[in-house]
Structures are given as structure tokens and as C-alpha cells.
Symmetry: C2
Subunit: 89 residues, 2 copies
Amino acid sequence: MQEGQIADVLKALAHPSRIKIIQVLEKGERCVKDLEKLVMIKQSNLSQHLRILKDKGILECERDGMEMCYRIKDRKILDVIKCTEKFFT
Amino acid sequence: MQEGQIADVLKALAHPSRIKIIQVLEKGERCVKDLEKLVMIKQSNLSQHLRILKDKGILECERDGMEMCYRIKDRKILDVIKCTEKFFT
DNA sequence: TTAGTTTATTAGTTTATTATAATATCCTGA
DNA sequence: TCAGGATATTATAATAAACTAATAAACTAA
């Protein structure tokens, strides 16, 4: 397995807002409007972070009327974060 | 657990050369000279990457005569990389 | 002490990432 | 169709990260 691919996924995760997004979506899917309130960053910036996560196959989304619903595409990504948390213990 | 701390560790990992360094050290400790050959980057750059990993508590080092020996300080970090690899399967 | 080897640090340049504001697009309901 | 709300995109400015070359520091052996 190439270290470049591994680094790429880790880089997609390596931002406080993006970790927060994943932690919120771990509990269930959310539209952007909700995420905006929960993550507390501006809409355009949130949209950029969501795109980074979607491009890496970490999230997926689906339109629901006027809203766009985001959810975790592959829950294996949660293990990466869990392991990172354990690193501090 | 704060998302900032998690992001910090992930950011320290999120570089191909640093992943490579960890993969090499997984098998045993190595001096910088050896790492230079194995990771194939310039000495000064390698030294900078090593510092980033050491500062985050991922690596530790010990002088051995003229050489500086690096090793993985906390092997829990290996699980983070393993989980990331599994993400692709 | 001096020369040689290994590693670390620094300064400068280039490149990448992030955040913001402005604008565009997509969809719904009137 | 048009207005308005939700989301995405773009351009740009600020900041951070990465790489290189040069130099310094730590150590050894002669």
C-alpha cells in the first residue's frame, strides 16, 4: 500500500472542522444548514470542507428537496479517528 | 476529546515521507543516515520531518555515538495507519 | 586540537491550504 | 415564470507547510 494514498486520506481528515463534521455525522445524516449551526463555520467554508471529504470518498450526499443531506459513506473512517483518540490515552 | 488535538496528530502523519518514516521504523529503530537512504529525501528535509514526528510524541530518539537513533515512541500510532489502510479495502 | 562524519537549524523560496466575500446554481412553491 | 431559500463555486488574500542550500552543532578518531 502506497504511503501517498494513506497520506492523502489523513490529509483530508487533518482539520478541526472536518473532524467535527465527521463526529456530527457519526450520529446520523444532516443537511448543510444543520451542519452550519453545529460546526459553526460560514456556509461557503463548510461547503469547501464537505467537498474535500466527499472527494476522498469519506462522505456522500443526496438531495432532499431544497436541502442537501450529507452522511458518512464508509464508516471505516470512524476507526481512524477512534485510533487517533486512543493515541492520547 | 477535542477535534483540534485529533486534527493535530493527523496533520503530523499526513505526509508521504512521514508515513514512510513510520513504516520503516515499525520494523525497528534506525539512524538518520539509514533513513535517508530508505526514505530517499535530503538530509535536512528528513531532519525536519523527524522533528515534526518527535514533537507530537510519535517518535523518540537517542544518541548512539555519532549517530542519532530514531524509533517509534508509542506504537498506538501504527493503528491509525493500519485503519487508514483498511479504509481502501 | 584538528579533520571528518552525522545530524540539526536557519533563511529564503515555492507551493498548498484556509477563510472570506461575492456570485452562481439548484430547487420549491406561489 | 418568478422569488426566495439552500448549497456550490469562484476569486482572492492571508497563512502555513514544504523544500533547498548553507551553515552550525555534536561527536569521534587521529
